[in-house]
Symmetry: D2
Subunit: 156 residues, 4 copies
C-alpha cells in the first residue's frame, strides 16, 4: 500500500468494521503513508466524573490514531503497548488525534500521537502518547493472529 | 476515608457520575482501602475491527481501576499518565480489572491494575498497566482543579 | 533451558560479558525460570546531583532484571521498551532488583521488576518498572539480530 | 531563569555535581529555555552483552536530557516516571540526546527526548522516550524534597 487515496479508502473501511469506533463517531483521514488524523465529536457518554473527556477515551483516540498510522505502512496490527500523558483537562466540542509512525519494523511498529481539543474555533493539545503495534499477517501462527483468523472465537 | 463500606458507597456514587462508566456498564467494588475491582459485561459496541475488546476500552478499564483505587486513599484524582500492555486478545463475556495503589504521595499516587477476561467460567489475564494519578483537592490553584471547580467550562 | 542451576550459570556468564554490568558491579541470581534477583553495591559514581542513585542507573537495574528474567525463558533478548516509576529517593548501601516474566510470547516477552534500596539492615521499595523484550535468535533476519550477529558493527 | 547563557551556566554547574554524569562524560548544551542537547562519547564500560550501548545508559541519557530541559523552566526536579523505546541497536562513537519540555505545570513537568548515535559522520535516531519530572523546590514538605534537603540521608 502506498497511494494516499487507496490508503484512505482502506482506513475508512477498517474504521467502519470497528464497533467502538462507530459508536464513538471516529472519522479517519490519511494525510500521508504513516500519518493519519482521527477526529471525534464530543458526546455526553464520553465524559468522566467531572465532565471532561474520559481518560479511557483519550487513550482510545491515541491508540487508534497510532494503530491507523501503523496500518498505512504495515497492514493489520494489534496494539501491544501504549501510554498516555494527560496534559490538561480535555474539554471540547470535538477532538482530533494526529498519529504518525516513528519506525516500522517487521515485528514491531512504533508510533506516536498528539490529541487536541477543539473549542470555540481554537485547538489545544490536551494529551500525547505512543504505541507499539504488532503486525498481524506476518505471523499466522501467533495466538493473536490465530484468534483473529477464527471467526468462531471472535465473540464471546 | 478508611472504612471499606463507606469507601464502597463513595466509589459507587462516583462511578455513577461518570457518563462513560454508566454507558460501559462499569461496576466497582472496594476490596480494601487502596484496592478495587472493576467489572464490565461485554457489549458489541466495545469491539475493535477483529471483534476483540478495543484496546481503548482495555485502557479505560485499567485507568479507571487505578483511579478508583487511588480515590480510596486520596479522594478525587485526575489521571496524569497511564500505560497499557496487551498480553492476549481480549475476548470474553465479561471483564474484570483489579487495581491497587502502589504508593500514595501528596502530589502523585502510583497505581497498577490487571485486566482479566471471563469466558466459559474461566478467567484469563489479558492486559496489565499502571497509572499516575494527581489528587484534585490538594491544589485548588492548579489548572486542572480550577477547571474542575468551574462548572462553566466542564462541558463543551 | 529449564534447570535453575544451569540457568544460573548461563546468566552469570551473560552478565560477565556486559561491560556496563561489570563496571556497575551487577550480580545476578536465578530464583526460578522467569524470576531473577539482580544486586548492586552503591558506588559514588552512581549518584545524581543530590547524591541519590541516578534515575538512569535505576532504569538500568530494572531493565537488566527484566532482560535477565526474559533470558531464562527465551534466550538472548534485546530491550524494545521499558518504563520506570520512581517512588522514593533511592538511597542505600546496596540495591536489589527483582524481575519476573509476566508473559513470554514468540515475538515479545513482557517482564516487570521492583527495585529495593537496602540500608541499615532494612529494605525499601524505591522504584518499579516493566519492559518488553524481543528475542534475538528467533529472527535472524531482523535488523537488530543481524547487527548482533555481525561482529564488525558491534563496536564503534 | 530565562536567558540561555545563564541557563547554560546553571546547567553545566548542575551536570558537574552529578557523579554518574561526570563518569559517563555527559556534556550539556542549552539550546533555548526548555530545550537541551546532551552528548556523551562512547566508552567501553557503556556496553551491554552484544557491545551495543546498554539500554540502561540509553535511558540515563533520555531521562537526563528530559530532566535538564525541565530544569531550564522549573529549576531542580526529580524524575518521577520515564519510558524508553529502543528503535535500533545503539552503536556509535558518540551519542546525543535532544530533550524538550512538552508542558510545564506547577506539580509536574512533561518532557520528551530523542537519542541519536553518531558514527562515521552520520547521525541515526536509535531511541526516544519521555519523562515526568517533579519540581523539588515547590514542595519543601514532600518526602523527596525533605530527603534532598537533609545532607545526612543523601549518602548511604
Amino acid at each position: 500500500m502506498a497511494d494516499t487515496t487507496e490508503l484512505q479508502a482502506a482506513l475508512a473501511a477498517l474504521n467502519a468494521t470497528a464497533a467502538f469506533n462507530r459508536w464513538s463517531g471516529f472519522e479517519v483521514r490519511c494525510l500521508a503513508p504513516g500519518e493519519v488524523e482521527l477526529s471525534m465529536p464530543w458526546r455526553d457518554e464520553h465524559g468522566q466524573y467531572a465532565g471532561f473527556l474520559h481518560a479511557g477515551v483519550i487513550g482510545a483516540l491515541i491508540d487508534t490514531a497510532c494503530g491507523f498510522a501503523a496500518f498505512t505502512v504495515a497492514g493489520r496490527v494489534l496494539a501491544s503497548h501504549y501510554s498516555v500523558s494527560c496534559l490538561a483537562p480535555a474539554v471540547g466540542s470535538a477532538f482530533v488525534a494526529r498519529g504518525r509512525v516513528v519506525q516500522a519494523g517487521r515485528r514491531q511498529v512504533f508510533a506516536a500521537a498528539d490529541l487536541f481539543a477543539q473549542r470555540d474555533g481554537a485547538e489545544r493539545r490536551v494529551a500525547f502518547g505512543e504505541a507499539i503495534l504488532v503486525p498481524v499477517e506476518a505471523t499466522p501462527s501467533s495466538s493473536a493472529a490465530a484468534a483473529a483468523a477464527s471467526p468462531d472465537n471472535r465473540r464471546p
